[in-house]
Symmetry: C2
Subunit: 216 residues, 2 copies
Amino acid sequence: MKIAVMGTGSAGRALGTKLADLGHEVMMGSRTADNENAVEWAEGAGDDASHGTFADAAAFGELIVNCTAGGASVEALRSAGAANLAGKTLIDVANPLDFSRGRPPTLLFCNTESLGERIQDEFPDARVVKSLNTMNAAVMVDPGVVSGDHDVFVCGNDAEAKQQVVELLESFGWPAAQIMDLGPIMAARGTEMYLPLWLNLSGALGTSMFNIKLTQ
Amino acid sequence: MKIAVMGTGSAGRALGTKLADLGHEVMMGSRTADNENAVEWAEGAGDDASHGTFADAAAFGELIVNCTAGGASVEALRSAGAANLAGKTLIDVANPLDFSRGRPPTLLFCNTESLGERIQDEFPDARVVKSLNTMNAAVMVDPGVVSGDHDVFVCGNDAEAKQQVVELLESFGWPAAQIMDLGPIMAARGTEMYLPLWLNLSGALGTSMFNIKLTQ
């Protein structure tokens, strides 16, 4: 499949590399056509890896992965072009973290809204699925780096798009039983608002290589 | 120990009963001296169970457990009297849920503040420890109702008070290894902001009898 990875940070690079390793054609999108991270990533990620602007990548991809900084995601996707997103599954991995007050970051918005919902509202013809935003990039693409069973969440308004994301997660190594559907995109509020706890847990554990498992 | 349980809801009754069963003298506090829930609870919870106003209970207790509705907690504790809280460990179990917009509830405040911090700010001489607010009342007092290992969090500014809470949690059946110290009371932001995800998880699982376990 042709996949656009929007964003050149650690999540974008990790997901881009994993997707390329799995045999997909991946274009990494960024604000400029010559972003250093994107150039370096594309050079190292094999023959089917390329890079371009957000618009180049979105036009190329049959599926879009948003790994831009959460506070800049809507603007980045606007510059990608609504027409280039229409009808496509858009996996939103970003969290709207605000580091402007220092650490720990707060969220730029939450509680009665979420980034996942903002993106879906702004691009009603895209099929937005929030997922993978509750863990670090290394765990996203290789759940085996954390011991035992642990869980990943998906939410979104389009059942087919969610199923497509579930299959992609399975191709990353996520067992079907550990992929939990939380319902419509509104549930992105919950997974984004988990970030402050995630940051506290990471601090207490002294590592970001962890995840949570539900037990009942 | 003499313990005040503030609030007559499901958490207050479950914690009051557990504490009485463990041999503590428990007074349940409420707005009025003749709250029906409190009267009924005290009649059923043994000879060392009693009830009274918030002020009665706070004067009685050597340790205070806040189980009032989060949006009303600061007012309830004001009516209990700052002098009755001074120097005492105050376990804050509440979440500032707002049902005024319907379900799912949002939080009344979050992100840059938390109920735990508001209580500590309002009563600087109390030793506030946030704990147990990340699960339902039945799990709080009997972690064995959920299978396998799973975790409970504590945070607060006073190390001795946190240690006292850890020992109380152990007396409830929480293994020491599953009690996680998240640092100062500011970490209450994280555990309170987990509530929207908890609600989504509960909806997806079809039960509130669950918890999360960290794995790394």
